[in-house]
Symmetry: C2
């Protein structure tokens, strides 16, 4: 272990050093991401199309590719100071265990009750909903990480929060459901009889345990049919990447303060909210030609949007209620194997990250889940923190890169994003501890089935 960096183990910025502005990486992209399209007309969605579903200021943020910096409102700083700045950690015990000349740092976003970085955007979206004078917001949640974050934010701002939770999770994963209820959210198992779409699905499939697509449809229906409500979403959208830029801005500020010069920035990627936030200011430097970084997106081999998907227009959800987005996609009907543990199971990817990847500004790797959990175990035992399965994808790749440095003797500086803790993911850890966890890599035939669901023009071509 080299002594290149003489820094504290946990690097906390001071409260007054929390970023005052979000950075909009789109402002520095020479080639912008493709716009969202109306699935009926294939015309770009404007503010008028999006405003019935989303809050006004969030729609403006969604559509704004030009403004580089957004002032962060004081009310959001009031909440930030409860859990931010999050620490940048020097993983010196992991370095020691690997006996690598590499220097490993991680930005830890799990030190809040929601257990992940999701709170950064939940907070912003709840704030703008409150500012608009709304009564409440609706959303869907699978395992409950996003729903928990939104519940906390709504409790803070005094906003009603209606969460549609996939029924199988509602019943089998009651802990996050109860966290949401403790924060005052109304949690409804989906499909439910509270919506038209829910009632239709229940009639057609009486015993169904639900799906994320169905929960999205219910949450959107409630938002557009109830006065004073809007729908909010925790990933994929441009606005979410803007809010999540606070992760990268803090990381960069801590690196600058402590003299850390990253060669490599690694983040896990599901819909892209964490990765997009973590890399934002570094990508900005790269886009402006001011610095170069090796930026790596890590995805599960069982849901390989970047590494095996198509870069075309597709629906963001299984239920086809969302606009079309141009992104790396496995097809909106693609569902990862039931063997797949944890999140990162989204079939698509943030359009912004998709464009940046397409243009060669970042690379992507896929990793298998038993290897991911081996990395998680080593990390837990050396660094203390029990990581979320999602975050452990980034740990796996950070370890792999550090081991490559051991072979080559290179003293690279690696920064990765630790998005959250695994306290609510112990069923997956149990499988790993018992040796009953399996890997699953979709065959080309499996992928072909997913691709078949991607919408096509009448001439049979993809919409690009």
């Amino acid at each position: 272990m080299s002594k290149k960096y003489d820094v504290p183990y946990k690097m906390y910025l001071e409260e007054k050093e929390i970023p005052k502005k979000w950075y909009n990486v789109r402002s520095d992209m020479k080639v912008k991401q493709a716009p969202l399209l109306n699935p009926g007309t294939l015309q770009p969605m404007g503010a008028a199309d999006l405003s019935p579903v989303f809050c006004e200021e969030l729609v403006a943020q969604e559509l704004d590719d030009a403004t580089a910096y957004y002032d962060i409102p004081d009310e959001i700083h009031d909440f930030y100071k409860i859990y931010r700045p999050s620490p940048l950690m020097h993983a010196e015990y992991l370095e020691k265990a690997l006996d690598t000349p590499a220097h490993i740092f991680y930005k830890f976003e799990g030190n809040n009750t929601s257990g992940s970085h999701k709170l950064n955007s939940a907070l912003a979206q709840a704030y703008y909903a409150k500012k608009q004078g709304l009564k409440g917001v609706t959303t869907e949640t699978g395992a409950g990480q996003w729903g928990t974050a939104l519940s906390m934010a709504c409790a803070f701002f005094g906003l009603d929060c209606k969460v549609y939770m996939v029924k199988v999770s509602y019943e089998q994963k009651p802990f996050r459901r109860e966290v949401m209820r403790t924060y005052g959210a109304e949690v409804t198992p989906s499909p439910s009889d509270t919506t038209n779409i829910g009632r239709e699905i229940l009639k057609a499939h009486p015993g169904t345990t639900g799906s994320l697509g169905c929960a999205i449809s219910e949450a959107v229906e409630v938002a557009v049919t109830n006065e004073g409500y809007r729908y909010v979403l925790g990933s994929v959208l441009n606005q979410v990447l803007l809010h999540q830029s606070v992760i990268g801005l803090e990381t960069k500020a801590a690196c600058d303060k402590y003299g850390i010069k990253p060669d490599m920035i690694i983040g896990c990627a599901g819909g892209g909210s964490n990765l997009g936030g973590l890399i934002a200011p570094f990508m900005g430097e790269k886009l402006r030609g001011e610095a170069d970084y090796d930026i790596i997106a890590v995805e599960p081999a069982s849901c390989p949007s970047f590494t095996r998907g198509k870069y075309v227009y597709d629906f963001c959800d299984t239920g086809m209620v969302t606009p079309l987005a141009k992104m790396y996609t496995l097809g909106h009907d693609f569902i990862p194997s039931a063997n797949h543990a944890g999140g990162l199971r989204f079939h698509g990817m943030s359009p912004v990250l998709s464009q940046l990847y397409h243009d060669g500004y970042m690379r992507a790797v896929s990793v298998e889940q038993t290897e991911v959990f081996k990395a998680a175990e080593l990390f837990a035992r050396t660094e203390g923190i029990l990581p979320a399965p999602e975050s452990s994808h980034a740990i796996r790749t950070a370890i792999d890169e550090a081991l490559k440095c051991k072979e080559t003797g290179e003293e690279k500086t690696i920064v990765f994003g630790l998005t959250g803790t695994g306290y609510f993911d112990m069923v997956a850890y149990e499988q790993f501890n018992n040796g009953t966890m399996n890997d699953y890599i979709p065959t080309d035939e499996d992928l072909a089935k997913g691709f078949a669901s991607i919408p096509k023009r009448s001439d049979g071509s993809y919409i690009e």
Copy 2:
């Protein structure tokens, strides 16, 4: 809300400000706590009696009432820096919600994977076991908080860790069990067929779901019958209070750094490990006549050792394998009602805290659990952190005292200990959210049954 304190919301000391020494409050007690007695001979236990069960240096700490400060070994600091210093938080949103002139601060010990302050002593005990050249340690655990902390510490120091977990918890609360296994601990449901006492109990009670007393007996048997093993315990003992003094020393250092002058220090009390650690340096000042503080122990009304117990010698465990300790006790057969949620269910109390309470240096209050969960809910919604049920006892009393200030107009400064997070306690929160949580206060008859188990001399008198 007054502006008396212009301090950050989260007050982090720097890594170099982590205490270098533990403080031994016994050194300043004019009347020392009574010694542990051999239950057979009623003679004080010396090093020779304790060493077959406990590590040598820990035995020395246990018996040392004179040394005021102990140097904290470097190896313990190596682990401290992963999760310490813990923050002292200014509960300004709780103050605002209560509309109180009081100033409320809390020391948050839950920001580590074990989720509580227990790690402070687990770490020290694992270190001394390693230093002695032992192979491993054994312990018991109920819900798993202590076992988790010990597993983390053993993983860090490369020590074998055998945890006997009460069978009903092993089966019904698998999450903490899996956290322990992830850290490499061997977790055995108790009673088991790995010990003589376990086999006897299984033979006598084939369907038993176990008890903490039985798990203690198994862990002690394994420690004394296997070469290179010792038994470790997470509360009650003098050595544990010594290790936990790091909580109070950091709290005091942060108070001094930021100009905070506590009038009142509040902590929850089960066996006393958190309370004893939190108050240590403040109690020292009080014992030396240098300052005065209103120190309050908060216990559940369903397990009221301080407020309704007897101050006499009793066994520390239901199984009567431990020495006798002079302490406030409800009788070692006393078991809180099944309605009781969370920890703090110990029938006795730290002998040191018992003596201090007996001598009037602190007071005690008891609180009912639905009121405790109301406080927890308010705290979660205003301050973000979802508190452990144990910690929420201290929150309840802090709120009650702040509301008294609202009546009187007093601007008191309240510091309380937030020992941990409630992520693994969502079953209790679910009961509260559903309105199915009950209070239970033992009747005098209930208490009489517990008192009947307290050992007596042949003349029928208690051992005092």
